[in-house]
């Protein structure tokens, strides 16, 4: 109460106006709807928004999704079935797709080629015959050799994204190899193995890394020390020689599928230390946080604390490092298959295809056989760009 009021007015209300209307205490700090979305958004939402602004990463992500779709639907995307070969089509160079024939637009087509064997040079010579036009069909089913497939080995089909025209037409986008197999189709089929190895390897690596790193970070002390030493030891191994050694140890008796898993295990074997180290250092920091202590005090089990509270806090970092580790694995599988230590025919992967292309004759005479290099490069690039974007976005609060 102010002092310059008269005494007879002491029990009268003060001369200021107080509205009786209901009011919002936070009025002056009211949030606009956008701001509200922002502050109330979950961690994942924020990450997504930040990622979205990094356009290259988004493009890479879309590319990868497309790639994995192709891998899943490989039989449909590839015009020819995996084992199909054409005895008359050995070492055919990539067929050009034309749109105009004699000045008229008739849609995408290839010229049929004439083949003869040059005895002098012991080489096949294929020349396009500009009179025979083979129109490429889209969303077609069957009608030529090599159209039939078993989708994932489960049921038969012959629907394709695009097919050659009729019986004698061919569409060898990237040429053929020494047995007359379409390189493009083999690359598409091979994507299934190559792309999945990275994923499965990452899963294995994650499991190992989080488990071991988590234990180290959470318990600390001598457990931590030992694990740290182990990590250091594994990190000082030069990767490829160790992979070579482990691959040489794989029993040949194993069926191809077991070898496949063996290879992913080997690749993961040298990858988890990095992950474990990151997990460990994060955990060491985070376990001192209030929420962790609170959970502990409330009686949560160790597993629950690690799994439910701590790990999600840095899951974003894990995702980022995963996306950078996957290309390592893809390259690793490629390198091992190249050395003849990884997958071998009849399994088809990009590494196996490159192994077949790895000699001077190919470089000099049949360079299109090196085409599998392109998807490898593109995939690795895409993963790296995506990983960069994810890493930038992983700390949405900074």
């Amino acid at each position: 109460m102010s002092d310059d009021r008269n005494e007879e007015d002491a029990d009268k209300p003060a001369p200021h106006f107080v509205s009786r209307e209901p009011f919002d205490p936070d009025d002056d700090v009211a949030l606009t709807p956008e701001q509200e979305k922002f502050y109330m958004a979950s961690q994942w939402r924020l990450m997504w928004w930040k990622l979205r602004r990094h356009r290259v990463a988004v493009a890479a992500g879309i590319f990868l999704i497309l790639l994995y779709l192709i891998a899943i639907f490989a039989e449909v995307v590839a015009p020819y079935e995996l084992q199909h070969r054409d005895t008359r089509a050995l070492f055919v160079p990539p067929q050009a797709i034309h749109l105009f024939h004699e000045g008229k637009f008739i849609g995408p087509f290839t010229y049929r080629y004439k083949s003869r064997f040059d005895l002098e040079n012991a080489q096949w010579v294929h020349t396009p015959d500009t009179t025979k036009v083979d129109r490429i069909r889209f969303l077609c089913s069957g009608g030529y050799r090599g159209a039939e497939y078993e989708f994932w080995g489960l049921f038969k089909g012959n629907f394709h994204l695009f097919c050659p025209a009729g019986k004698r037409g061919t569409v060898f986008l990237l040429g053929t190899d020494r047995l007359g197999r379409d390189v493009f189709s083999r690359i598409v089929h091979g994507s299934r193995i190559s792309l999945s190895i990275g994923l499965i390897g990452i899963v294995l690596s994650f499991v190992l890394g989080i488990a071991i790193g988590g234990v180290a970070g959470f318990y600390g002390g001598w457990v931590d020390n030992i694990i740290q030493r182990l990590i250091e030891v594994l990190k000082s191994f030069p990767r490829l020689p160790l992979w070579m050694a482990l691959s040489a140890a794989l029993p040949i008796k194993w069926p191809p599928i077991m070898i496949y898993f063996g290879i992913t295990l080997i690749l993961a074997f040298l990858d988890w230390p990095g992950l474990a180290r990151a997990v460990r250092s994060k955990l060491l920091a985070l376990r001192e946080e209030d929420f962790a202590i609170a959970a502990n005090l409330m009686g949560a089990s160790t597993k629950r604390i690690i799994g439910r509270h701590l790990v999600p806090s840095f899951a974003s970092h894990l995702i980022a490092s995963a996306s950078l580790a996957i290309p390592e694995m893809i390259l690793g599988e490629t390198a091992l298959s190249f050395l003849g230590l990884g997958l071998r025919p009849p399994i088809t992967s990009w590494g196996v295809l490159l192994n077949e292309a790895q000699n001077i004759q190919v470089v000099a005479l049949y360079p299109w056989l090196m085409a599998p290099m392109i998807p490898v490069i593109l995939t690795v690039l895409a993963f790296n760009f995506l990983g960069d974007g994810l890493r930038d976005a992983a700390d949405p609060y900074t």
């Binding site: 064997f117 025919p345 001077i360 004759q361």
Partner: protein
């Protein structure tokens, strides 16, 4: 300074020496290689007439050559130094180009009753270090090596036995030695002429320092310790490998000897100044001074050849490299020769007659099944796709160049006749098929054959790819399983493999006097019947005895061949053996008569335009005597 070191130094001095025309022409007149001329002049080496044996072997050559030059070849591993023993082809007796046996290191030999062999050495023949080559070297091997319990715990090697008996070895004099067996030994001379010969002689003067019976005890112990061997026997065995060329100190009789201790990336073989052959003009062979062997990865060797970095290259070059090499032919001044090969079949399938599954074993042992598989094979297509159409579809049998060849042998059951194949399969009771068209066994399982490969040869894998379709058409599904050499073989030996793919018989250019061992169950490495072969090899201690009539007959024929006394008799036996094989289709051959590309620089002469590139007999280049090859620009 050892002779070898002097030689190496003289290589460098040669450039100066050869610039002096006088020395060059003098050397040419006397037949003395210019490389050695300086050494001879300075007294470091005796003159040529004293280095050669009293009666050197005079070799006929297509054209008289000149001394000089370095021959560059490429190999893939340090171990390939042994190839120089193969190419050098200095043998006690060797094959000539028509595969007749002629004496080479030996002056001559006598055979009595097919079981008594008298060998006459050349008087004055010396080792590469100048020490005399005499029957002492034979005696040393027989008494102190082959029959020494520490050096050879199992006794002398198997090839020294005929009818299970060892020979009596008599040293008649310094240059005559006689081997007497109780039974005929038709293998003895062919063995001596083999690509990888048994060395029944050793440089005694050199090896005695490693032998406990001759060497100074203390010195020997020191040497053993130094080389970290466990015993003197190990040291001796490590030092006396006449084949490998891995010990530069070991004296040899070959035309060139190794001067670099393995492993290295390059080996330098220098001429042997005491080599026993001369050309018709009296020039001492070899013409070429040095052979430089570069070690490179197998995949790079075709590239090196195409880049002109080799002078004579056949090993590790295949027909698939032909187009690539052809492009560089003119620019890099070399020619690609196409020699014939000797394999019965370049690729062959071996159904395992010991497969552990009884149903499959019965099937493989049924000749109709094997015939059906052979009929279902489109050899023409395989020939076209993989071998450029340059090979011949064929069974795994003898080749057209062999005197024992008949066309029926090559074509029996080898035509592509899927209908007949289906008939046979139906006859066998495999007439039911499932929804995919794959036939079913009587017990309901699919007729699926797993074919294993050693994983080394893409041609074999490609052949299987092509087989897949035609066999599927007659209802048989194939799975390929790539493996690794050791595991591959072990699985075959134990009967776990169903069918293996490998090369065909090594030697298809046989005459009646050559051993039919490859066609009878005699060795474990015969992938269709490893256990019977093992039984024979181990003298009955391991493996199984033959329990099928046709292989049993083959084995008996083999025994009769060994004791046959005349070529007619042997020819009759051979014919029967080959007929049985053609009829029974124990192995499924694909194509024969593939070509071997040989990259030869245009500067190298006396390399035959056409020849047979075979391991045994033939020693690859051996029978064509590389010591008679020479460079047109030698001595410049």
């Amino acid at each position: 300074m050892s002779i070898r070191q002097k030689l190496i130094d003289s290589c460098l001095a040669t450039a100066l020496i050869l610039a002096l025309a006088a020395t060059g022409s003098v050397a040419a007149q006397s037949g003395e290689p210019p490389l050695l001329a300086a050494l001879v002049k300075s007294g470091g080496l005796p003159p040529m007439m004293q280095r050669l044996p009293e009666q050197p072997r005079v070799v006929e050559v297509d054209s008289i050559g000149r001394h000089g030059g370095d021959l560059r070849i490429s190999m893939a591993r340090s171990k390939d130094t042994r190839m120089m023993t193969v190419y050098g082809y200095a043998r006690l007796v060797g094959y000539d180009r028509s595969y007749n046996l002629v004496s080479d290191i030996l002056q001559s030999f006598d055979i009595e009753d097919a079981r008594i062999f008298t060998l006459y050495l050349r008087k004055g023949h010396k080792w590469s270090d100048g020490r005399p080559f005499t029957t002492e070297d034979f005696r040393y091997w027989w008494e102190d090596v082959a029959n020494n319990p520490e050096l050879a715990p199992l006794g002398p090697p198997a090839f020294m036995r005929a009818g299970g008996q060892l020979p009596t070895v008599e040293i008649i004099d310094e240059y005559t030695v006689r081997y007497t067996w109780q039974q005929p030994n038709p293998f003895f001379l062919p063995q001596l002429a083999a690509a990888r010969p048994p060395f029944i002689y050793r440089p005694a003067h050199y090896l005695k320092q490693f032998h406990a019976a001759y060497a100074d005890k203390a010195a020997l112990e020191r040497a053993v310790k130094e080389r970290r061997m466990r015993s003197w026997a190990a040291l001796h065995n490590a030092s006396d490998n006449m084949y490998n060329f891995d010990n530069p100190d070991l004296p040899t009789l070959q035309p060139w000897f190794n001067t670099i201790r393995p492993p290295q990336q390059q080996f330098v073989f220098v001429r042997n100044p005491y080599f026993h052959r001369v050309d018709p003009q009296g020039q001492q062979l070899p013409y070429i001074d040095r052979v430089l062997m570069n070690i490179a990865d197998t995949k790079l060797i075709p590239a090196k050849a195409a880049a002109g970095e080799t002078d004579l290259q056949a090993r590790y070059i295949f027909m698939s490299h032909y187009p690539f090499l052809k492009r560089a032919e003119v620019k890099k001044n070399f020619k690609i020769l196409l020699w014939n090969t000797a394999r019965g079949s370049k690729v062959a399938l071996y159904p395992n007659l010991h497969h552990k599954d009884p149903v499959w074993r019965k099937l493989f042992r049924d000749v109709r099944f094997r015939r059906a598989l052979s009929l279902a094979t489109d050899r023409d297509e395989i020939n076209q796709v993989i071998f450029f159409g340059l090979a011949q579809p064929s069974n795994n049998t003898v080749l057209p160049q062999s005197p024992l060849f008949r066309e029926e042998l090559q074509t029996a059951w080898a035509e592509f006749d899927p209908d007949q194949a289906e008939e046979l399969l139906d006859e066998l009771g495999l007439d039911k098929r499932d929804k995919d068209g794959v036939r079913l066994l009587p017990d309901g399982r699919r007729v699926e054959i797993v074919i294993e490969t050693s994983g080394e040869d893409t041609e074999q894998v490609d052949v299987l790819e092509l087989l897949r379709d035609t066999w599927l058409d007659v209802g048989i599904k194939i799975f390929t399983r790539p493996s690794q050499r050791q595991v591959f073989r072990n699985r075959i030996f134990s009967g776990e493999t169903m069918m293996a793919v490998w090369f065909g018989v090594d030697n298809g250019i046989v005459s009646a006097d050559m051993s039919p061992a490859e066609f009878a169950p005699t060795r474990q490495v015969q992938y269709q019947w490893p256990k019977w072969g093992q039984y024979f090899e181990t003298g009955g201690k391991a493996g199984q005895d033959i329990d099928m009539p046709a292989p049993r007959e083959l084995f008996e024929l083999y025994g009769r061949w060994q004791t046959a006394r005349s070529t007619e008799e042997r020819t009759k036996i051979w014919r029967r053996i080959l007929d049985i094989h053609a009829d029974q289709v124990f192995t499924i051959g694909i194509v024969c008569c593939t070509k071997q590309p040989i990259v030869v620089t245009n500067r190298l002469k006396n390399v035959p335009r056409e020849g047979v590139y075979a391991w045994n007999p033939g020693a690859y280049f051996g029978v064509y005597l590389p010591d008679t090859f020479y460079f047109t620009d030698a001595g410049n």
